[in-house]
Amino acid sequence: MSEWETGLAIVGMALVTLITRGFFLYPEREVPLPAWLKQGLRYAPLAALAAVIVPEVVMSQGRLIGTWQDARLFATAAATVYYFSRRGILGTIVTGTAVMLTLRIGLNW
């Protein structure tokens, strides 16, 4: 693709962002969702997070990781311990990242 074609493609992607994020928000009339689905969508936010996180922790290149010597596992464990003992998200990020960098740079995992 030429420079301007790529630019056009990017503008199109911005429109896709606009369209998808408000897909059912833009029509005047409410989408007639069945009551059970409305109720069930309460589980969607957490599910979306878990669906992003879990593969990022336990998979690499599309496969489950086969070794325990992976910095991500220890970073996740440290972050989890921090969260459930202290409850701060900032500390959770800092603790996990510190473990990650230590193992990556120190042990080359």
């Binding site: 199109g12 369209i19 069930g40 879990v54 336990v58 989890t80 998200i89 960098l101």
Partner: protein
């Protein structure tokens, strides 16, 4: 005249106490958002995009996962419609979320709904539903939403621009992007409130791994569907009180 009213509206939102609250609720995870923005900025340049196009992409597309999915397609010269279809599929989760946005913001004028829709990123959605679990309109919701956007947008865009400009000097092999995953992890833990949320989150995680081979990150859509189904089944067959007894 119309512009004047727009700015009056904006000022009223800015001064509303829930604007601050929306920003504050997002503040804890901005570090993770920023790490992710930085890594995405670097990735755009490393894939071969020019600095100008990378800046255009981050500033107007404003959707990390769809940007990352598009980069190899742009690099390999895929047709434009393939690129757009990919972006749409990667963004399918937003289509699901938008049905809920309608329950809160469906009565606003269309221009306001378009603006809300464009800025409604994943974490804005998660924080908002945590703050307002009851799906009915409330005057505090709009300022809360914009407060979250005021924290999220710069936390993503500034590091992303830095990543684009300094792509060669930022060491991505250290796995800095993992800070973004850790931010989401902490956020998820804060949402685990009862047994059903633990179980549905576990189901979502397993489904996302099991369906990982699906193209276009459709494993996320599969995981959401599985978690919703699991949550509803638990509510029906094993209500929380009986389970505790």
């Amino acid at each position: 005249m119309a512009a004047g009213r727009f700015f009056d509206d904006a000022r009223a939102q800015w001064h509303h106490p829930d604007f601050r609250r929306g920003a504050r609720d997002m503040a804890g995870i901005t570090l993770g958002i920023s790490a992710w923005g930085l890594v995405t900025g670097v990735a755009m340049i490393k894939s071969g995009l020019s600095v100008g196009l990378a800046l255009l992409m981050t500033l107007i597309v404003f959707a990390g996962s769809s940007q990352l999915a598009a980069l190899p397609l742009i690099a390999s010269g895929a047709p434009m419609w393939v690129l757009w279809a990919t972006a749409f599929c990667v963004n399918l989760r937003f289509v699901i979320f938008s049905a809920q946005w309608h329950l809160y913001f469906g009565n606003l004028p269309r221009v306001r709904r378009l603006m809300i829709g464009y800025f409604a990123a994943d974490l804005n959605y998660v924080a908002f539903l945590n703050r307002f679990p009851q799906a009915r309109p409330d005057p505090r919701q709009e300022p809360y939403f914009w407060g979250g956007v005021a924290a999220n947008w710069p936390a993503w865009q500034i590091p992303s621009v830095i990543g684009i400009l300094l792509a060669d000097r930022i060491p991505t092999e250290w796995g800095l992007g993992f800070a973004g995953v850790l931010a989401l992890l902490g956020l998820s833990y804060s949402l685990l409130k009862d047994r059903n949320s633990w179980v549905s989150a576990g189901v979502a995680g397993c489904a996302a791994v099991a369906a990982y081979a699906l193209p276009l990150r459709l494993n996320i859509v599969v995981a959401i569907a599985a978690a919703v189904a699991a949550g509803l089944l638990l509510e029906k067959w094993l209500p929380e009180k009986e389970a505790a007894a």
